[in-house]
């Protein structure tokens, strides 16, 4: 019963995540940017923009320059999360890929640094007057959800060890559309449920910052407006204006 419930939950969550994000990304990609608005100084070439985006995505360059505290917590959280996510590949692959085994020990401890990053971000939200002012319920809930995911995950390893072999069998089963027995351990159930919630809210929440980042014209456009004429379909449809000067100097 529980196994089936979670199986359905994960299938639904996966579909909503994939369809929702894909739909949004398609909308972003199809929406035209009528003008050249790169925030300058901006790269003059496409290759330069790729480098700029790599610095933004991998190093959080702009955030580093603008706020060291948020950068530190955010950087710690996101990179830890990446390690943790990659480590989790071991539950979906058999045999486990060699590089996933390699990062396994780091991935375990990344759970703690991820938690530290999240708590830091939460603390700033509460303590720092300006950020408290702009924070709404969903902002706190999102942090709470992530913290819950991390805590339940850590509990599965350090507090009440879960039968991880059975969990893996269950996950591999899901990938083959076979529902096996899911261990009925509380931390595991909380962990999986909260991850499913995160997947479901992803496309309808601020988590869209992840794909959205790649569609911000201020960062992704090449600074070459003088060399190449930037055009947009709807602007081309505007009624033409006269090329010569009509009644000159009348006022």
């Amino acid at each position: 019963m529980l196994s089936t419930l979670y199986a359905v939950l994960f299938y639904v969550a996966t579909i909503l995540l994939v369809v929702g994000v894909t739909r949004k990304v398609i909308i972003y990609a199809r929406t035209p940017a009528p003008l050249k608005i790169p925030v300058s100084p901006a790269p003059r070439t496409r290759a330069g923009v790729v480098m700029r985006m790599l610095r933004e995505v991998l190093l959080f360059q702009s955030l580093f320059r603008s706020n060291k505290w948020i950068w530190a917590f955010g950087f710690l959280f996101h990179w830890s999360m990446l390690l943790v996510l990659l480590r989790h590949l071991r539950y979906f692959t058999e045999p486990v890929w060699w590089w996933v085994s390699l990062i396994q020990p780091f991935g375990i401890y990344a759970g703690f640094t991820m938690l530290a990053g999240l708590l830091g971000l939460l603390a700033r939200r509460i303590v720092q007057e300006r950020i408290r002012y702009i924070s709404g319920p969903s902002d706190y809930l999102m942090l709470a959800l992530l913290i819950l995911i991390v805590l339940s995950g850590l509990a599965m390893r350090f507090v009440a060890p879960t039968d991880i072999v059975a969990v893996k069998a269950y996950m591999l089963g899901l990938l083959r559309f076979r529902i096996l027995e899911l261990p009925a351990a509380a931390p595991l159930l909380v962990h999986l449920a909260s991850v499913a919630v995160l997947m479901i809210v992803f496309p309808i929440s601020k988590l869209m910052h992840a794909p959205g980042l790649f569609f911000a014209p201020s960062r992704t456009q090449v600074d070459n407006a003088r060399e190449f004429r930037h055009k947009t379909a709807w602007a081309d449809q505007l009624p033409p204006l006269p090329d010569d000067i009509p009644a000159r100097g009348e006022s």
Partner: protein
Amino acid sequence: MAPLDKNDASGSSADKGAADASSPDPLEIPRLSCGAMADLHSFEAAPEHNELLGFPGELLPNWKEVAIAKMGELAEKNRAFRVYLDTCVKCGACTDKCHYFLGTGDPKNMPVARQDLLRSVYRRYFTFAGKYFPKLVGARDLTREVLDEWYTYYHQCSQCRRCAVSCPYGIDTAEISMAAREILDSVGVGQKYCNEIIGKVKKTGNNLGLNPKALRATLDDLEEDLLDDTGVEVKIPLDQKGAEILLITPSADFFAEPHIDGLLGYAKVFHSAGVSWTLSSYASEAANFGMFIGSYENMREVAWRIRQAAKDLGVRRIIFGECGHAWRVAYSFLNTLAGPFDFLDQNYPIPQHILEFTLDEIESGRLKIDKSKNDDYVMTFHDSCNVARGAAMGREEGGQFEVPRKVLRAVCNHYHDMDPDTIRENTFCCGGGGGLLTDDLMDLRIKGAKPRMNALRKATEEHGVTHMAAICAICKTQFSKVMPKYGYGMDRIMSVHQLVANAVILEKRETDAAEKPVAEEST
């Protein structure tokens, strides 16, 4: 909280704060002062001014439906608008970046809070979460109060993009602010200052409403002054067909101080370079307030006059005078709005900035300079926001910072930069940009100038800086008004080409005949 705040601001500010306690900190963050600027409501436009721009004259009876429809239309037509409304995570990195927030402490002047005024409504009508869980995600209905709040706070944004530089997702409040003004205009609530001025450009070709005769008379006076000053016949041609260069400059250059001195500088540089050039009475304005109100159509119409003038006069090049947002429209948008410029000489950038031209003349040695003429001044340079973050110069990334500094260093012996966190891409708006250079917003303008003025004060204390140069008509007007409030004379703001004008050595040329105006009477 205080120590956290101190370390908050970017990088080096913490150590600098400790280094000199007497110096005012340009990045000092105020405590929140809710509602501090809630009552500052810029004058609204009269019906005829709205209508001239293609907007309803007065608030429409069905304004709510129209506003929401307009919001949907913008989300379809402008990727920036849609993506920026979706991607903010409320990290807070931008909260201490706006000069109006730093100057007023009003939390709604924090960039993210300013965006949220509109984002909250967008969420309510266009997102799943906002439709079904409005409280959770801070979504709210569009009401008359909300509309008024938009008007108030979107006219307290100078669209300077300092927050966009700091945002990890590149969210540009200027785009949101322009969209908000476009929505307000579309329901019949326009701002007097911007809309009146755009109307004047449509009627007369410039923000001032100067007709060609009055303009020629002004230029005649300036030519006389130049002759008296230099003993050389330096011309300022108007509507001269067949000239090589069309100069598009802000109309403030014709009448305001220190703008005029900049215009005299351009004239001297052109004279010395021996090129033929002309102003146009039809396109006698570089400024394009269509950008400020986020109206693509109006911006295109104003920009189009430059194309018409260039074709009509048969020029081969277009050069822009010192104006910040005008240079953004020129550099980043003109090709899109009024191009293609296949009828111009492709060997030169289209358009070119006067500083690019002047620097070429200096570096090639054609322009003779006597730097000592500016020895009375210890200069610094105010990077204008639209040039710094919305445009560029030269071929290299960041040329918009180097070109003016190279010119200044070439014509002045004494030059010092201000605090590194307040220049280049981190520059502060003067406080009067984005369509806010109006007396009814004077309180905001004075407070918004505070970070820049504190940075200048620091440069004065550390390096003995006496004067500040700028390349924007709005910056120059704003500073000449607000500097006295911060203990500087109004003449402490200078045009970059004013300093060029001081230092340039003019040689009398025998063949001045070629430059005799021929097409003056064409009106």
